[in-house]
């Protein structure tokens, strides 16, 4: 309970009476967990087909250039090479793809727009042959000036990254090198600013983060006898891929049959296509199965990254600590192709002031077209960059007002009913102040925790085993942050999912089979869907059918939406199956017991029981050899687009809130940081699988830590070429960099959602980064307006 005694929300409702073993709320274990830990899990890169060829992509070596000529002769003449294809070999008039705007060439046409753009593809009988043949393709470039930032993109004489745009954003953007612009205006920020006793301004920079999933892009395309193709692929959304692939191949969608193969992480980086079309093209051209696997170097060019951003903020507050207004401008670098940029702009703008009550706001977010690497979806999706900036602002403003930083946030925290800058009311529990209270109340890790009887334990110090300090120069800092993330696809998108559930008796036991096209990318959907089926159908045995396109779309495994939406679809399909089963029961046994007609009936423990607990029949008897199967689509509440001028509109479905407290030790002389604890409190509505929930929170927290202190793709500002496409120089946290992450899970039901649940995966990625930055600022007294922060920023040697 918060201090004012108001209820935080309502408890969660569970449809089916007593919990079934292995049902929702239990920490059942992942079916793939042991396989992954022991190295036996088959990832997409492990696939093999007899007689298969290997595909290789030739990528541009420059960021922006006209292609003068491509000579494939020598490559084609290489023994072992079966096909070399360029733009000219594409089979139909559809030569581009894209999530929303089809602006991305399957193979470069006349021009390359970023470093590492696919120019030609090769199939050969050995990966090394393919690689060498690709290297023999001669591409002559005539280099063009590179667009690398807002100034160069919107200069009067700027070269256009895309000429002749026809997409639906071109009408409202101020410059053709701007993909999308979303202003959000509510109240009158200028007028409100006059009431402010304190105003703080800040300019922030967010570096380019990579998803750095460990399983590189890979897949296997097998040509079929009917002229179609079977594609086995690691992706986040099979049907979205399908809609983009089929037209390029000139095939109807039912002839491109896709099956999900083992996915080694995604984090947004598999929303866009990578090698899918290339593998299919080569397979159809050669008539042989074609496998493509990127190596780590290529993977850095093979998927979009998190948008780097420049953020300009002004916050005001009265003497008593109430926010008066916020003005902000968020400039996201979308790179060469649109990818998810428009939706990222929508998130960054609509969530741009964070989980606070502010009536007068003036927000603008834009995404640029540049010649930098394309950027798109990544865990947190636009809300991450904004959170980094507004939380830095909240600290600054609290200091100006002279209030405790956490209390200042709590005073301004949104609650259920608060209006977002878009005018949309938050119509489910919003325990922002409570999360902050909880995270602050957690016990602090002991001071000087590195000291032991045998001297300093360097593993507990900045620098770790590199032995840079035994305590010298080390200062502790503590920082707090909180964030808000939308759950599900917003802005009027028809965000549905499909589930097919079948119940039958196998060997005398009732078994449920759940078939969806949901991409399991490690988030735990396969675990949760089985739990839902057990709860709703009262069976123990549930089989999760492999995900493929033989069932309707499940939507994307992104936006923290799969447990909500595909989980909702599974629940819905199970309920329909349950109704059918009960109908069968009534037909068969209704005359034997009046309760069939009068009582509320449940499925529990493989039996039909009354809500009073009386057993009416076993499911095996009810089904009597028949199977009951239902396939149904399920939708969450509809949303609306944001008004293009005012940004007003009920654009979001649901919100997810997390708060962090970071405790760091900073070696202030060397500028090295050891995050020793990142405590998190998060509201999850209902934890369908508490262990998975904690895992998601710890993972998201760690990914946020990564971009606070080390993760950044460095792009040369002169050439727009990527400088560190390897795990040698793109660093992600190791276990020695990962702190203790105590997690306090709050479960306040969102009555609009299945079981009251909230999407979990992204919110912890938001507040983790600004909490770490705040803690480093606290330790060093430095302003630190960019992330990630590097040793040179902490030592005045940048």
């Amino acid at each position: 309970m918060p201090e004012n005694g108001a209820p935080l929300g309502t408890p969660t409702k569970v449809t089916q009476g007593t919990p079934t073993k292995g049902g929702i709320g239990e920490s059942t274990l992942r079916p793939d967990g042991v396989l992954k830990v022991t190295g036996e899990f088959a990832y997409s890169s492990d696939m093999w087909h007899e007689d298969m060829l290997w595909g290789q992509i030739l990528r541009s070596t420059v960021a922006h250039a006209e292609i003068v000529s491509i000579d494939t002769g020598e490559a084609l003449a290489t023994p072992g090479v079966y096909a070399v294809m360029t733009y000219d070999d594409l089979p139909t008039d559809v030569k581009n793809y894209g999530l929303e705007i089809r602006d991305t060439p399957v193979l470069a046409h006349g021009k390359v727009r970023h470093h590492g753009e696919p120019v030609a593809i090769v199939a050969a009988d050995h990966p090394e042959t393919a690689r060498r043949a690709a290297a023999k393709i001669k591409v002559e470039y005539r280099e063009l000036p590179v667009i690398t930032d807002e100034a160069s993109a919107t200069a009067p004489d700027a070269v256009l990254v895309h000429e002749n745009r026809t997409d639906h954003h071109i009408g409202h953007v101020p410059h053709p090198n701007i993909v999308h612009r979303q202003p959000i205006v509510r109240g009158d920020a200028d007028e409100a600013a006059k009431r402010a006793d304190f105003v703080v301004k800040g300019e922030y920079t967010f570096g380019m983060q990579d998803q750095a999933f460990l399983g590189p892009e890979s897949g296997l395309a097998v040509p079929a006898e009917d002229g179609g193709v079977d594609l086995y692929i690691a992706t986040q959304w099979l049907h979205s891929d399908l809609r983009q692939i089929a037209p390029v191949l000139g095939l109807p969608e039912d002839k491109v049959r896709m099956t999900l193969s083992g996915v080694g992480g995604a984090f947004g980086g598999r929303e866009d296509l990578s090698m899918q079309i290339h593998a299919c093209l080569l397979a159809l051209r050669t008539g042989k199965p074609v496998k493509i696997v990127y190596n780590r170097f290529e993977s850095f060019f093979g998927h979009v990254h998190r948008h780097p951003a420049k953020l300009y903020y002004e916050h005001g507050a009265t003497r008593d600590g109430k926010l008066t207004h916020v003005k902000c401008r968020i400039v996201l670098d979308g790179g060469a192709y649109a990818s998810a940029s428009p939706a990222v702009v929508g998130n960054a703008s609509s969530l741009g002031i964070g989980p606070y009550v502010v009536d007068d706001v003036d927000i603008e977010a834009i995404a640029l077209y540049t010649n930098n690497p394309p950027c798109g979806a990544m865990r947190g999706f636009g809300a991450v960059q904004a959170c980094f900036a507004y939380e830095a602002q909240m600290d600054k403003l609290a200091d100006e007002v002279g209030m405790d930083r956490v209390e200042f946030r709590r005073l301004n925290a949104m609650t259920q009913g608060t209006l977002l800058p878009t005018g949309q009311p938050v119509d489910s529990p919003a325990p922002v102040a409570e999360l902050l209270r909880r995270v602050k109340a957690m016990p602090m890790p002991p001071e000087r925790q590195w000291e032991s009887s045998e001297g300093a334990d360097v593993r507990q110090l900045p620098g770790g085993l590199s032995n840079t300090t035994h305590g010298e120069g080390v200062v502790r800092g503590v920082g707090y942050a909180v964030g808000i993330k939308n759950v599900g696809f917003s802005e009027g998108f028809d965000d549905y999912s499909t589930a097919r559930v079948r119940m039958e008796v196998v060997g005398g036991e009732p078994v449920a089979v759940v078939h969806t096209a949901m991409a399991e990318v490690g988030q735990g959907g396969v675990t949760v869907h089985a739990q839902i089926a057990r709860t709703e159908l009262g069976v123990t045995q549930v089989t999760i059918h492999p995900a493929d396109t033989q069932v309707g779309s499940a939507g994307s495994t992104s936006a923290s939406r799969q447990t909500y939406v595909t989980g909702g679809a599974v629940k819905n399909a199970c309920e329909l199956v349950r109704e059918k089963v009960l109908e069968m029961g009534r037909r068969r046994f209704g005359t034997y017991h009046p309760a069939w007609a009068t009582a509320e009936l449940l499925l529990e423990g493989g039996k039909v029981v009354t809500d009073g607990g009386e057993v009416l029949a076993g499911l095996a008897d009810v089904l009597e050899g028949e199977a009951v199967e239902v396939e149904a689509e399920w939708r969450h509440r509809p949303t609306e687009p944001f008004d293009l001028r005012t940004g007003q509109g009920n654009g979001h479905v649901q919100y997810s809130f997390a708060a962090h407290r970071a405790v760091v030790e900073v070696d202030t002389e060397l500028g090295l940081v050891k995050v020793i604890e990142l405590a998190c409190a998060q509201d999850v509505g209902k934890a369908l699988n508490p262990l998975s929930v904690v895992g998601q929170i710890q993972g998201g927290t760690t990914q946020g830590l990564g971009v606070a202190v080390m993760e950044e793709i460095i792009v040369d500002p002169v050439t727009a070429k990527v400088k560190n496409p390897s795990f040698t120089d793109y660093l992600i946290p190791t276990i020695l960099d990962t702190p203790t992450i105590p997690v306090d899970v709050l479960e306040l039901a969102d009555d609009h959602a299945p079981y009251g649940l909230r999407g979990v995966g992204e919110a912890p990625t938001l507040s983790s980064t600004p909490a770490v930055l705040a803690a480093i600022r606290n330790a060093t007294g430095l302003e630190l307006n960019r992330t990630p922060v590097r040793p040179e920023h902490l030592t005045g040697t940048a």
């Binding site: 190596n295 032995n467 060397l670 202190v709 400088k723 020695l736 040793p791 040697t797 940048a798």
Partner: protein, 296 residues
């Protein structure tokens, strides 16, 4: 690419003489990365893994003869007493898996300024045992690094072992990376006290085109320690001496700006590491000296 697999050291020398462009490979830490990234396509790879001698070490009177392929894990586990600086440096090499395969011979062969072993070898004092069909020679470590990723080996020579002076005093090693484990050095520093000769030696990594010693800093410190009778009286080194030593170590750097760090940061960090490692080593020396006196 031809893969040569000599069964003995003599065969390896013969192969290297026959194919001077052959690239030796043992743990593969550096070589495999270069091949995977297509930075290098050697005509011949010379696999040294069948030559068991290279994985052996002998502890002699004054020095350790460390086989070129003795893995870093072996150094950490077995030679901590004799080679404390190198053992500390070994601890910072990559990941446990790589430490199980990689050895000092690879670091020397690649001669990258970022090799973790170099500062420790420079500080301890070492000689590289190079051999060819023409014969064997010992190359002093100070003369071994000749340029960026270049060393004093002749085209037909292979590294058989490194002779490293056994520690006669405390040694330290520090390395800065932007992550707390498994990271390539932004810069590194090795320091060894040599009470027998009353000298201090240093080694700097990743802050110049080659691994280097901070000779002016060493000379300054040797003189200061000598002048104040520090080796005998075991007094605390004054902060001003430590500071000047640190500044001279910074001055010995000739770093570049790159994706891992700025030149300015590298100079700064080397100075901080120099001051800290000197303090730790000297404290340890004083402690040992005090105990020895007490016992006597």
């Amino acid at each position: 690419m031809d893969f040569l697999r000599p069964a003995s050291w003599e065969e390896a020398l013969a192969a290297k003489a026959a194919h001077p462009t052959a690239v030796p490979i043992a743990g593969g830490t550096d070589v495999m990365v270069e091949i995977n990234f297509d930075h290098r396509r050697p005509e011949f790879l010379l696999d040294l893994n069948r030559i068991g001698d290279l994985c052996e070490w002998e502890v002699g009177e004054d020095s350790v003869r460390l086989g070129a392929s003795v893995p870093y894990t072996g150094i950490m586990e077995n030679l901590r007493g004799e080679l404390p600086g190198l053992a500390l440096a070994s601890h910072t090499v990559a990941s446990p898996q790589i430490r199980n395969r990689g050895g000092v011979g690879g670091n020397l062969g690649t001669a990258s300024p970022a090799g973790d072993a170099h500062p420790a070898l420079l500080a301890a004092g070492a000689e590289v045992e190079a051999e060819s069909v023409r014969g064997s020679r010992l190359i002093p470590i100070d003369e071994f690094y000749t340029g960026v990723k270049r060393n004093a080996l002749a085209a037909d020579e292979l590294i058989r072992a490194v002779h490293i002076k056994k520690a006669d005093g405390p040694q330290q090693f520090s390395k800065v990376g932007t992550r707390n484990a498994m990271v390539i050095a932004v810069c590194a520093f090795g320091l060894a006290l040599h009470p027998e000769t009353r000298t201090v030696r240093t080694g700097i990594g990743s802050a110049a085109p080659t691994p280097v010693r901070a000779k002016a800093a060493e000379e300054f410190l040797n003189a200061a320690l000598d002048e104040g009778g520090f080796w005998d009286n075991g007094k605390i080194i004054t902060p001003s001496v430590a500071q000047q030593f640190a500044e001279l170590c910074s001055a010995a750097c000739n770093p570049i700006d790159d994706v891992r760090g700025t030149a300015s940061y590298r100079r700064h960090a080397v100075g901080v590491m120099a001051r800290r490692t000197l303090t730790w080593s000297w404290e340890s020396y004083r402690g040992t000296a005090a105990r020895t006196e007490g016992a006597a």
